[in-house]
Symmetry: C2
Subunit: 318 residues, 2 copies
């Protein structure tokens, strides 16, 4: 299959690209390196069936030309900074909604009709229904990130109805693993590395989080594309488990053999618009035979190990 991957130098995008290449597919990847990192392309570059387009998704000419000849689009480029939506209220609009629209239009111009999209469990807003199934109640959004991901989904499914596209929409919990470069674990490890005596934690540490290991996430995406053949295919991707932020802190501190004083900022949310708990019902993807290979604890520790062996990633403050 001739694949096109937006965000090919990002955390998930670069690992997906390598998986596609190793499975014998060709990949044209697009990335502007705003979040992605060129070093993450080194594995893909070992394949002659890989080509990188160094451009922004919002540059329509590069996007349309780069996509030419592809059969399937993986749209992973996005504003990944969930936390700062309200400091930059244009960012989610541009990098999520407008970017997705640009991808859909470029597909239409190229006659490409199949798309996989990295959505998020935050599309359910502040739902009381947990674990949350794919057909949960109508969301009331509390974050620009969640609103923009839901808006992107809406555009994609409308293109399915209007232009005969087929879509795979994956609603992720937080993903971690190798090449993970932002979020709780990076924050905690960065702090403890510079001063192991104190750890500042947003909220009260009781926030529950569900995490999924990145390779398990990619397994699920590829399986769904292989096995599910509806016009619109929507899957929650997560584990049947969750942890408290305090638990992940304990795992990290034990692994690092440190015993910091924990300094909580207070409140039950990490930041304004943070969902206190995203925990997804994964019965639908499980019914296809998928199971995660790592527990949340194993995923956290694997991520920590990756950061310890790649400390230069911590220097690059985004």
């Amino acid at each position: 299959m001739r694949c096109f991957v937006t965000g090919c130098a990002g955390f998930i995008g670069s690992l997906l690209t390598e998986r596609l290449l190793s499975a014998g597919h060709s990949v044209v990847g697009l990335d502007n390196l705003s979040t992605g990192q060129e070093r993450f392309l080194s594995g893909a570059r070992e394949y002659s069936s890989f080509r990188w387009v160094h451009a922004d998704v919002l540059d329509p000419a590069s996007l349309t030309a780069g996509m030419s000849g592809s059969e399937f689009v993986f749209h992973l480029a996005a504003n990944a900074d969930v936390r700062f939506g309200f400091e930059h209220p244009h960012r989610d609009l541009e990098q999520n909604i407008l970017a997705t629209h640009a991808v859909l239009e470029a597909m239409r111009k190229n006659g490409i009709g199949r798309i996989a999209f990295s959505s998020s469990g935050s599309v359910y807003g502040d739902t009381p229904w947990v674990p949350t199934p794919e057909d949960a109640r109508f969301p009331i959004h509390t974050s620009l990130y969640g609103a923009s991901k839901a808006a992107s989904e809406g555009l994609i499914t409308a293109y399915c109805a209007g232009f005969g596209f087929q879509s795979y929409i994956f609603r992720f919990v937080s993903i971690l693993g190798e090449r993970y470069t932002h979020g709780h674990i990076v924050d905690f490890y960065r702090q403890l590395r510079s001063d192991a005596s104190t750890l500042r934690v947003l909220g009260d540490g009781r926030q529950r989080k569900s995490y999924l290991y990145v390779q398990d996430c990619i397994d699920a995406m590829l399986l769904a594309i292989d096995r599910s053949h509806e016009r619109v295919n929507i899957f929650n991707l997560g584990t049947n488990d969750h942890c408290e932020v305090n638990e992940s802190i304990r795992w990290i501190c034990e692994a690092l053999r440190v015993t910091p004083r924990i300094d909580y900022s207070g409140g039950d949310r990490g930041w304004i618009g943070d969902n206190p708990f995203i925990f997804l019902d994964t019965a639908k993807i499980s019914a296809l035979g998928w199971r995660p290979t790592l527990t949340i604890r194993q995923g956290v520790l694997r991520t920590l190990e990756y950061l310890r062996t790649n400390p230069d990633l911590l220097e690059r403050r985004r």
Copy 2:
């Protein structure tokens, strides 16, 4: 209350503006006359408490300056052409999503925190759950119009969470009445006026539709703003009734005393992405004491009467 109304020269916007003015509020209205008509402003212009800003919602400077000093924003400007989304895939994005974002940003710059938004029953997508309650299942969108209205809602509620806004989101069925200038009834009357022997009907005529009379719609909006005080207030607005397109054709033909041959285009939808049936559960607004004053039949006939006495409106093909 100092009100700001986008789309103040439109069908609903101009009638709402007059109602606000007659209730003693002041109104600054913004309209670019792309859909609205200057003649619809004549009633408002009789009030010294009215001022018109002739500008586009997507002109940030005019929008922000025009809004200065207002306390409450009614955001009604929109792409009203539900049917042609797939012929112009940028239009809903720009005139609905980007326009709503522009309004929210202008409000934030002006320190205005209250907004009413004209959304649509099409936000529920192609739901099997009818009559559809406000907390229906997660929508899968089949029209760009519905997707863009849902996206606009998401931005609004995220601004409520992030910036402390209060919002009133009204999900309309099709609205009709005086100043209605596009849709089934205009199409049918225009055809019958030029040739009463044949009527071309999209679909099979069995499409069911729920309509609401515009003044009943405005009553409900003003009542909800008066009585409901949540951070996010979402209301379906419609009647507890519906009709088939064939019924409205019969009412129109009887009123006009014509007996055309009906020429159906076939299929169960009027156009690609048309929801075959939008019928909303209106228990929530009814619980506030609201009742529509006109039945669907009365609304159709009142609309027809308005078109007959304002035939020049039919000349202006949009």
